[in-house]
Point group: C2
DNA sequence: GCGTCTGCCTAAAAGGTTTAGGCAAATCGG
DNA sequence: CCGATTTGCCTAAACCTTTTAGGCAGACGC
């Protein structure tokens, strides 16, 4: 009997593809076994359980996002950097909706601390180097930017901005203008 | 055999309670049947399927949120209104995490159009009456506020702002200050 | 080539989803 | 007030997903 060559890595990658194609809620251990033409139980040598699979997809997505982010940020500063990073999130969510959804999976603290999530915070902080913000305002701003990026992307993807006018692209551009303006004129406490 | 008195309404309400207590992912038709001490199949006279249950919980949550929002907005304007509405979302998510999670369920367009989601957009627009924004900037601002409210609340709940300093309450306050400032000084295109 | 280890297998239990069809309680018309 | 109809919850059953236990054979180390 030929071996399928399963690894945790390949399972996570295939799970990510399946999430993008069929939606995160259809990513099951069973579906994955079918995709590898292997019996379900075989996957349990590589995965602790079903939630473990989701976690691994989340970690994969966070890492891909962080890689794209640091590539986009290289050589940019100020509004240019802000726009580049923001677009990384939006574009990734559009290209990989299932992976993006997986990236929102709640991770337990140790896993989160070891994840690429840390790099995300660093990247946002890097964007803020182009603006003049001291602590604790810098941390407030990091959190605000994270909120806007995530909030906008998830509402847009969820159809929350459904009515057609104005264009959501237009809103996105204006939102980034607004954030840039806000960061340049951050209000004193 | 005595009847349990099930209705779609009661099922949605019990589902919402269960979501808050155990988490949205543990809200199943089976669990709900157990709670009513009734056989599983009986629920299928009141619910089309499992997804239908989630949808009804989502609609319930959206309505409760809208009710709280309009109560909070009554008699307030400007930053006062902004803060009040923002706190409605944050407080609701803290009090009812399962319901809040359910409210993020993607609804099909007809359901969404008939839902309280419409009132949410109107409430945000009402807040903006306290600021001087003409269309299309007003719509851009509606979307921005929605993004920040939703993004902040979901990141905070998901533990995204985990490190302890500064306090997330402090960030929240400063975020609202920043939004107020931004709306008063909305950048020209 | 032999032994060990590992990877995928079969088997099986347990629980969730959903449909079909039945009986009895509630409700309504006379 | 009683018979007919409707409605609500039931049993039964099929199907799917998750997860554990234990087995056999292919890959690898010597």
């Amino acid at each position: 009997m030929a071996r399928a060559g399963l690894t945790t890595e390949r399972l996570a990658r295939a799970g990510a593809e399946l999430a993008d194609e069929a939606g995160l809620d259809r990513v099951t251990v069973s579906a994955l076994a079918r995709r590898f033409d292997v019996k379900v139980a075989s996957l349990y040598s590589h995965l602790r359980n079903s939630h473990d699979l989701k976690t691994r997809i989340a970690l994969l997505a966070l890492e891909e996002l962080a890689d794209r982010g640091s590539a986009a940020l290289a050589g940019r500063a100020g509004k240019d950097a802000l726009t580049a990073l923001a677009n990384v999130y939006r574009d990734y969510a559009r290209e990989h909706p299932g992976r993006y959804a997986a990236a929102q999976t709640r991770l337990d603290p140790e896993t989160a601390a070891a994840s690429a999530g840390v790099r995300h915070a660093q990247m946002t902080r890097a964007v803020l180097r182009g603006y003049d913000l001291a602590e604790p305002d810098q941390t407030h701003a990091v959190r605000l930017l994270g909120s806007v990026f995530h909030g906008y992307v998830s509402l847009e993807m969820g159809g929350g901005f459904s009515h057609s006018t104005p264009d959501t692209q237009e809103t996105w551009t204006r939102t980034l203008d607004a954030l840039d303006s806000l960061l340049r004129n951050w209000p004193a406490p």
